[in-house]
Amino acid sequence: MHKHFLSIERLTQTFPDGKGGTLTVFENASFGIGKGEFVCILGHSGCGKSTIMNVLAGLSVPTSGVVKMDGVAVSGPSLDRGVVFQNYSLLPWLSALKNVTFGVKARYRDWSREKVLEHATKYLAMVGLEGDVIHRKPSQLSGGMRQRVSIARAFANQPKLLLLDEPFGALDALTRGTIQEELLKVWSQTEQTVFMITHDIDEAILLADRILLMTNGPFARVAESVEITISRPRTRTEIVDHPNYYAIRNHLVQFLGKRSRDLAGQRSEVESQSPDTVRIDLSETTPDPEPKPSPTRLKAVNG
């Protein structure tokens, strides 16, 4: 396994179960993320996705295991790891613009006022917020606009790693679609490394280079790493026509619907549990007239 930009090594998280014992949420979870990669993690509620996210952000400390970024172990929160929270986490007493400059000022302490303003305005414009809107308070913005501000704040800080915790979970489907495409646009301009939690399979396929699949907890683990073999740039309307789209989607649905449960609770004997790499690519082989891909055509390659 080659050296990753971000490597998660044998991460274990246990909580007291309230009856004197301990509850292991996940155990020995190991995976890596390359520089500039967009990785989504999919799994049912309770499998510890958010816990992994908090550990990566440095907001909580795992029971055991380390997270290394650029070879250095993560300890505590850092401006190098930007976070977009599910509930936006904008400061309600500041305008949209001030919320972004709040972050920029923290990141670039020696910048002049003008430079901070210009930088913040640029990133707000990248997510489609311009003019009067940026002087409004979060309470005067729609949910979609708030999440845009939150994304602008995170990208404006140009962190080495961007963590997105179900950023579109609270939005309606139409707004979600628009912002997903905006996120893709901003991401393609910035070459940012992104790690994102989501519940939405289609969202994951649209955005990610790779999708990590988690089994159900307790003793959850990252079981598979599915490569998304759909070329970029992608749009929501075009990817559904891609020959690999439904094959990948079926694989993910099968995993979440059935295999995540079957694999749950299996404590593996091996010490390090790296996910199996799964690559589904129908376009490489001769185009198949048959619409349904059968499981035999999936190649599971141990990474």
Binding site: A57, G76, P77, L79, V83, F85, S89, P92, W93, F102
Partner: protein
Amino acid sequence: MQSLSVNKRAAILSFVMLVVILGVWEIAITRQVIGEALTEYEILMGLGQQRSAIPPPSDVMVKAWEQLSNPFYDAGPNDKGIGIQLAYSISRVLSGFGLAVLVAIPLGFLIGMSPVAYKALNPFIQVLRPISPLAWMPLALFIIQDANSSAIFVIFICSVWPMLLNTAFGVAGVRTDWVNVARTHELGSLRTALTVILPAAAPTILTGMRISIGIAWLVIVAAEMLVGGTGIGYYVWNEWNNLDLTSVIFSILMIGVVGMLLDAVFGTLQRAVTYAE
């Protein structure tokens, strides 16, 4: 009537009520004074005189006009204008309140942010808080040995509790998400306190300050009745000793008006820092 706005209709109603109350008061007093001739017994007991000493509103209005047209005159220690007396009271309230702010806000931050500090200080707060501020007066007079400073101390002690508890409550209730935003932006403790926790807790803190200033204004009247010398509380008591009930009623009204203005100032400040989530 229907075409008028709610505010206008309410204003008209208020005015009507005022006129009715003053009218009833005026008529009731004048009737009593020029009523039936007093019996010999009543004259002997001096009852007639006492009754006629309650002034009708017209007298109070004349008094108010007289006082307010020259509020800052100073004709010796026993005869100062209402403006000077109020200024003394307000300056005492603001000094005591200011000291309370300096103590309550930082201490409230500490209690709000540290559960240990909260649990350690809570017994003291619970015992000291229900003590009537005036009960401190003898101790204050003995230790400080100065009437004016003792009055300020009493104001300090009565306004510190609501501010302290509200600050602690507001600081403890700041959403974890906002604190996490500060943490992921690598803000130090002081910057987090000033740029995230203070604005987040400001509405609750201002509520505490508003309650405090209200209590302080209630207490200063009583405190000044005790320490004497200057101030609106002393003025009320002095006019009572002079049996000048017109001045007593007028100063009661002035206490109400100043209290309302103080509350309005803090109400405005409160609205300025309130945010919608």
